[in-house]
């Protein structure tokens, strides 16, 4: 099979995205690179990216797994909630 980027894979999923409010609040100025590295490696949706020496985060495409909460709550991840009623990913296969 041809390789597909995570973004392209996520484009196959059904999302009711809350464009305005993120259910995850991230400290983008967090300094500990070891902490950031874990999130870059673990997030299945690649919501956390390292671009030009800086952490970026987007909740668009979040699969709501909770990985980042468990790895870095109170550090990089300042707040982690479920998306509001009806928002977020809607698996059609699961």
């Amino acid at each position: 099979m041809k390789k597909m980027s995570v973004d392209d894979k996520l484009a196959l999923d059904l999302f009711h995205t809350d464009e305005e409010e993120s259910h995850i609040k991230v400290d983008l100025d967090y300094r500990d690179e070891a902490e950031i590295r874990k999130l870059l490696l673990a997030c299945p949706a690649e919501c956390y990216k390292w671009i030009d020496g800086k952490l970026t985060f987007s909740h668009l495409g979040c699969l709501e797994c909770g990985t980042c909460r468990i790895l870095s709550y109170g550090k990089v991840v300042q707040e982690w909630r479920h998306p509001q009623s009806g928002a977020g990913v809607s698996f059609r296969q699961g």
Binding site: A42, C43, A45, L63, T67, R81, V89
Partner: protein, 431 residues
């Protein structure tokens, strides 16, 4: 939704929640099942395989009607090296021979919706698309929920809100999960025709394969790869223990690509089309992570209670979820009869769970989380088996060495005698 008081509110329309709803509604209780996804199953994902025994107790013969994918008739376990692997396959008429021991591949979005329909048929009210923000607590007793700005009251609340049970954490029944207690799963559902799947896996119509592997896919990290055949799709994914993230520079999405392109796996996927990409956490620490199960007016079930066990060759959680949902419901029915929803009365749930296969199995396998956090299992063992298999199966005209001595040497090159003893002890303790 109405502002009446319910006999029971169940938070979460997965297998534990739906099972509890069916049992409660059948007993004539007024039940509200509340689910944050668009529909029950919308936020759920499995590898996956459902062992059917516990659901049989609630809906005998369910597989004839439920949207199961295939009946698992072939088991396969592989230790994968970068360019190959050692496979152990098992097929037998005894696998899934009857409903009591059958297992099925399932897709949760479809399966859980069917379960929710059963709950509705039994008389439960199912409200999907509502996130429960908080539990309502009065005088230390849970008395209801608040969702979408509305407060709803019940004699008892059953938490079936999954591995990230923020509600159980909110009231202090459960601690924040730690990285070594959970693994992240990333999965693709890949479309192929039913015939192609049958041919590639050597399956008769309706029969399925469950295939677990360790080694190369996670680049030696704790975790593994899985592949399950559905009717006309394949579920393929990797699981990586969060406590071991960073062992290598391979990310979870890269692990999945690495697994899919592995020479032992890739031919099975050829020509397939990805139709969904999903991620989810899996409780991994078994008995060691089970939280407080009962308090005044509240019970915790399923993944929210960490009821999962991973033995490497079998992975279970859904059958535990179903059983815990049923047992929680039965405890609530007793409490309803007595008109007493205190922790003391609801603790019949905890006792029933202790006597059931759920806690017994979690206790029997209490050493597995330790065993499956040994680097040797994921790094050295696949390599070692690969090397020995290479030796045994390669005939190139060079004079043969003594195989036993070769094996001893291959082990000695990787580990010391004392280290080996430790590994053996861990294995023995696990079983």
């Amino acid at each position: 939704m109405s502002d009446e008081k319910f006999d029971a509110i169940i938070v979460g329309g997965g297998l534990a929640g739906c099972s509890a709803a069916i049992v409660l509604a059948r007993a004539g209780l007024e039940v509200l099942l509340i689910e944050r996804g668009d529909y029950c199953g919308a936020k759920n994902m499995t590898g996956g395989r459902l062992y059917g025994h516990s659901l049989e107790k609630i809906i005998p013969g369910f597989a004839e009607e439920a949207p199961i994918e295939r009946v698992v008739k072939r088991e396969k376990v592989s230790l994968l090296t970068p360019d190959g692997g050692l496979d152990i396959g098992y097929s037998s008429g005894k696998l899934s021979a009857g409903p009591e021991c059958a297992s099925y591949t399932v897709l949760r979005a479809k399966f859980d919706q069917w379960m929710a329909e059963k709950a509705e048929e039994a008389g439960a009210e199912v409200a999907a698309g509502f996130l429960v923000d908080a539990l309502l607590v009065e005088d230390g007793k849970v008395v209801g929920i608040s969702a979408a700005g509305e407060e709803m009251y019940a004699d008892v609340v059953i938490l079936a809100d999954g591995v990230n049970s923020l509600l159980a954490q909110q009231i202090g029944m459960k601690k924040e999960l730690e990285p070594h207690q959970v693994a992240v799963g990333a999965k693709e559902t890949i479309k192929l025709s039913e015939d192609v799947i049958n041919q590639r896996f050597g399956l008769a119509s309706g029969e399925g394969t469950a295939w677990l592997s360790a080694g190369d896919p996670t680049a030696g990290g704790f975790g593994g790869g899985f592949l399950y055949t559905n009717k006309d799709t394949i579920s393929i994914g990797v699981v990586a223990t969060l406590g071991d993230i960073g062992h290598s520079d391979v990310s979870v999405p890269q692990m999945l690509e690495r697994f899919k392109s592995h020479p032992s796996i890739a031919p099975y996927l050829e020509g397939g089309e990805i139709i969904e990409y999903s991620g989810h956490l899996v409780p991994e620490e078994g008995i060691h992570m089970v939280p407080e199960l009962v308090r005044d007016g509240v019970l915790v079930t399923g993944d929210a209670a960490g009821l999962c066990v991973n033995l490497g060759f079998t992975v279970r959680g859904m059958d535990f979820a179903v059983e815990s949902g049923r047992l929680a419901a039965e405890a609530v029915i007793k409490a309803h009869e007595l008109g007493d929803f205190s922790a003391a009365v609801l603790s019949s749930y905890q006792q029933a769970l202790e006597y059931s296969f759920v806690m017994r199995d979690l206790k029997s396998f209490k050493g597995f989380p330790t065993l499956l956090s040994r680097r040797a299992i994921f790094e050295c063992l696949p390599e070692l088996c690969g090397e020995i298999a290479d030796k045994i199966f390669t005939v190139d005209g060079a004079p043969s060495e003594n195989i036993v001595l070769y094996i001893v040497d291959a082990i000695a090159r990787r580990t010391s005698a004392s280290e080996l003893m430790k590994q053996i002890t861990t294995v023995l303790e696990a079983f």
